[in-house]
Symmetry: D4
Subunit: 250 residues, 8 copies
């Protein structure tokens, strides 16, 4: 803003130009959606496509715009039809079908800083993969530790030393959702809890796991929405980047 005002004072810009410029925020208007290129400056990570409810053409178009600036893109809650359309433009795009994630990674990106993604059971893996891929897209080095639920505590204890080495731990669990609480009682790193809708009966679409995680007696847990692997991966990547930047700044 200082630059603009200076230019204006120096006569390099007219008053109307200044006002226009301030209004002219750096997003592209595609009619049905506004692609936000400014975002990376503001929040540190590029925009991600929430594909649910968009047409295949729309998803492909936004992907193209993002790729032009970032050499990568990520779409969540996507389906096969959207992937087919995206693939026409990006043959290298990958699709994790059960997770609903389409992505092209920036090949030059070198992962720095470790985070872990753990699941209580096998059925929680699709949500965990959404988290893991998101965190990888945003620069983290991700360790996957699946099916270590609390019904068999001994399974968990074996991987403890590895977990204590992470910058953040994502704990994905359905049914009773006790995994994050157990993890937070055992390690001294932030635990990001992801309830999943896995289960039946009185789990009410993941509500049971969500409430368990919010009411956990163990401290150091931040909870995200049910099945929101993306949100967890994003938050973990953000914490990880803070630590990595702190190390490198020195």
């Amino acid at each position: 803003m200082k630059d603009i005002l200076e230019a204006y004072k120096n006569g390099d810009m007219e008053l109307e130009q200044v006002i226009d410029h301030l209004k002219d925020l750096p997003y592209e208007d595609l009619g049905y959606a506004r692609v936000d290129h400014h975002r990376k400056l503001r929040s540190g990570f590029a925009e991600v496509i929430f594909a649910q409810g968009k047409t295949p053409i729309q998803v492909a178009e936004i992907a193209k715009r993002l790729y032009e600036r970032e050499n990568s893109f990520l779409a969540t809650r996507a389906d096969q039809a959207q992937y087919n359309e995206v693939k026409k433009i990006f043959p290298q795009a990958k699709f994790e079908e059960r997770s609903g994630v389409i992505f092209v990674k920036d090949e030059k990106l070198v992962p720095r800083g470790k985070i872990a993604v753990c699941t209580g059971g096998t059925s929680d893996i699709p949500v965990a993969e959404e988290a893991a891929i998101t965190a990888e897209m945003f620069g983290a080095d991700v360790v996957r530790i699946y099916d270590v639920g609390v019904a068999g505590l001994h399974r968990l204890l074996k991987v403890l030393p590895e977990l204590r080495d992470m910058n953040a731990i994502i704990a994905v669990a359905g049914m009773e959702g006790a995994l994050p609480g157990v993890l937070a009682g055992l390690v001294d790193k932030p635990v990001i809890a992801v309830p999943t809708s896995i289960g039946y009966g009185a789990n009410f679409g993941g509500l049971s796991a969500l409430l368990t995680m919010l009411n956990s007696c163990a401290e150091g847990i931040g909870v995200v929405n049910i099945d929101n692997g993306f949100g967890a991966g994003y938050l973990a990547a953000q914490i990880n980047r803070l630590v990595v930047n702190a190390i490198e700044k020195k």
Copy 2:
């Protein structure tokens, strides 16, 4: 019934007498309540007074009728005023104020068979005491193991050998309510889960703990109502009696 029909055939009873007899079930009608002396025959344990909503005089009166047959009585959800009234008749009556339990034990009762009552935290103790006293009234030998919640798993592991020796384990926990699931994953005995209303925010009066317990991935758990220590103590005593009787029958 056979006896009545025989007596009738032999002319020892009139037809009207037979029909009256069949109707005349063994309870005393106090006007405001019907004391069910038949119950012990039917369900194996004497009736218990649900004191909430009854006047002190009513509680004392029913206690008197029960004591005349059982040499003991138990009242749950009771308050100080009810206790004061009961004490006029039974100076030996005890009152666990935080648990709301008034009782006189049958001194000749010898406890047989062990059950454990565990709590996640200190705040769950009143509900646990309701469970423990109930089980003791119905003949069990109760071991109390309090404040062994899952936030510190190591606390729990120390008492494991003792727990493996029980006929049933009552697990009382509020907040996230993970204790029963952890216990059931570690022992091979029936776990009776009691959610408590301890906590705040999104625990919704114990709903969080209740859902956790119902959705537990560990097997061998039966859940009772929120704060229902009495129900848990009763069920544990019933399982315990089954085992004790099986041993003694031989």
Copy 3:
């Protein structure tokens, strides 16, 4: 553990070996799942496959591993595709389609101790069968008593003598879910209540029956999750085994 420490002291094991051994818990890591062979020692029953969310190949593979040790296996929440895959390896495997249960029984297993599985209506039978088969897999002799709901109490009274002879009674009911409460008022054995999602309107996927069972005025009831026939069968088998073992120990 004593054995390992002795071996170590005697020089039969190196320090590293001891530590490795302690870590090396007896489960097999299949990548997507960890099969827990230790479980039988710990909880008395072998692991059961929760098939929902697993691929047919995964279910078949885990079944194979379990069968190698147990001569039997049980998979719940399974579908036809999973059964087809399992059948390639185990032509003798049975599939209860409406209950979603695949199993191979150990032919040498002799059932001991009786439990009953009751339903309120015809529509509750699939959940009841899941309970019955589970209890049979774990050694119980199961009596099925179906369609004895409380709308016609007289139906229930006829089977009462039989019920009084059981080690545990599983009561499966949807809609209003009153069956367990009525049963518990009539017998002196533990009642395991299974709410089902059968019904419509304000039953809210089984919530109505669940709340009824938790709030029952009758004592001696432990509740499991909605439609959780497996959990009920497991708990009943556990209580039954306690009694059977008590008799045989003598």
Copy 4:
């Protein structure tokens, strides 16, 4: 309306008078409330005072207006202060404190037609009394049958013959709320179900009993709001009046 239009045609009324008359509905405007004297013509029963949220003076004033026309009045959800004010005008007024009911009966009213009011437990009696007094105010002959809950079915069976003789049965129950369903399975008369907020834990202020009653497998049940004894008494009196009128019309 015919009369008014005739009077108008005959010139006995002016056009403005007719329109005024049609607008001038027979209620008195007290400023804070409109007393509806027309109601008896329309719905067959006089208006009842919903006292909650009204000042003592307001309750007394409305009572006075109603008494002037009906020789009786009934106020529900009333408290001691309101009663004190009412008593200044009507020394003969009665107050059922636990039910919150103030009333003066029309001494010339002869009860006709029988209805029954049953409760599951002692604690449900206040709600039952609200129902019973309401039905009596509206002309029914009320039989009170209290503490016949389903935990002890035998208690209920004894009073069955009496119940089969009623025009309607009000069944008041808290906790699990199974009483109406059991009654409706045994008699062929309309059952009006009143859930009460008695209980604790997962009864959620009467929700559990409400859902049970709505989901009952037994037919012939109409449910009213939680603790709404008045509504049940009113509906029972209405059905009773239908039958009584049918008999007398002949």
Copy 5:
């Protein structure tokens, strides 16, 4: 029972026969279901088939048994496949597809006593038809008054005189569910309220209409479960029969 006991005294029956007889309640055991022929004596109406969750063969078989005794039958929550099977035995059977009702009426049944079935909108008609057919099966003369919802009160006022002539009024409404309250404020007959699941958004599958009906300020309303046309028709028929019988008894 008197007869049996007399026969026994006279030596016409052996003791064992008596006991057997008392146990041998008049239902037929089909294995998967128990057909209750005693029901008509007990509750005044024959059993009705709840078809949901039963196989086509089962529905047809039960229909056959009921028809043999009643010359009629009614199945609710039925589908096309069940109808096809029933039609093989009863070519005269009718199927109301949107209501899911299969029935054969007893041709000799003469309807007596009038009830009305009203709906708020066109979309509520299937539930209303379930109610109407049920009431007709049980002997009532049913008047259908559809699409008279409260958004246009004037529609309702036109049919008021007709409604005041009924023994009972069934009011079926979704969305806001205000119809029963409005009706009960205008007539002096019992109103049976049926919330429907018609609507979207915050109607939560009929919960909105259900709560409205339970909280209605107008008196004389009994509510049944969401979409439970059958229950409403049954209750209306029961009230109607009471009145009709009262008239005829004279």
Copy 6:
């Protein structure tokens, strides 16, 4: 009414005619539905067809009746089959498939007064279109401003000047539903908030957005049902008409 009464006094109408006339409200009875032509007089806007649950023929028939009087019609919650039927009569009818809206506009209608329809995201557009078309049908000039959600506040700030020029603003948002609160804090015009069911997990079908909107700290917000674009468009058109009429009256 005055006219009728005058005619009656003058002898131009018989008494029966008068009464008939008062009853004969101006709607057409199609059997399954009553088309309300009076409505425009009463509420200012013609009736709209709620197509859900109606047959294609019924929708087309009602559309025809409405068009005869209004030269336009609008059907909401419609599907392709209903559109196909309508198109046979009105080839000019348009169908917004994702919004489920069928309509024919009155070509002579000139839009007056501006309202805005904003959405938080791309996925909220179908609900927004239902609102926009409804408002256009009822005479408003609608500005569409889509995808200006609060995650990127800067997007919103750019369109602020335009928004300040409106008579009413419709804010459509799913997920967290914060858009209406942000808008109401920035402009001084009525904001009509429409929660949508867009989202997943703990948004519970739009409940999350609904609660956010109801609890907004910003004033000047009226909320409609989840996904109820029609209701929002109607209310906005009504406010708009008030203003337009006020200007023109002068």
Copy 7:
């Protein structure tokens, strides 16, 4: 903003001053609260004090700051202690105790444009008064029409002509909450619906009335939060001002 930039260009302001100025928003920071004097420019109405959770001193202090600029102030959710403190500074301040509203009106304010505030019952009056006083503070001429609930529709019909003359109608109702829907079906003006928490049982603190209002079949209704009289008064005043301004602009 233009002014500031001009001043800057002309050299009347330094660059730092411009930036400071843009940051220096017109609110006063009292430490615990920020008083927003800019608000009137932005939203057209001055800030209102939400007193709940503030100390009496804080409320009085903020009132003083607001009065200095506006010659009036309004505090909602206030209690007696807060009023006592406010009265020390403003002896003329009024306190509507049941509504929790403290206010001083600007004596020079002349009300323009009519709105109506209606209630279903006497108990809804406190919420209605909060709405009425708020609307009066913001310049509307308010007509109060209380106790016209739908249980007696005839009460409502009498005031209809008056209602048709309003710019907006606020409808306040508890229990079933049907009043707004009935009003919106009868008038062609915006209806602002306020559910109240009046009632008991299954009204769940006003949820029942809220859902009724959201699901209303009548159009032209905007709903505010339960008991939120303030929000309704604000929205009504805003619509009223739009109309008044439109008239005066001419």
Copy 8:
């Protein structure tokens, strides 16, 4: 563990000693509670006293044990009586009454790394203080920014530069709970969202704010339980420590 095993091999320890040692975990058993001194090693922060449900003596006793090791302690959910007892031992203890926090800080602790605690309104301050004090106890340098809610976005924008400098931001908000989402859209640091129970009506004790936060469209948000200032402070301190340690490690 290696040390113990070495000692054992060398004969310095007996086998029983080894096993005892492994069991002898470093907590003190006070009978009613187990004080966990091991915790600091395990999770990095000392144990905190959850005072709710404990007696004043118990709180004081545990405080004493913790202080002996840590030179500080923190008790949450505490009341005046507990504070009085604690003060007898620690005259320097402070009590934040509205937050329910008792604490003694370690005077030698030097805060490192910045975090911010923001609130939407004045009423959210008690929860915010619990968060701030917790984070300070665990070593963070806390900046308090209160009353910057989204109803006035301009308030928030002024403090943005300061917020961008933090290691973590705690956002505390009741009612609609939009603050965390707005913050997360503007900064690139982890946002910890704390819903509060401030509000009324359909905020359902904080549920509204909780759902808003979970469903936020902005990324980088971890949510804790309603009113759980402690949990948020703990998690923020943990993230802060990670960053501080990363900087210092270099």
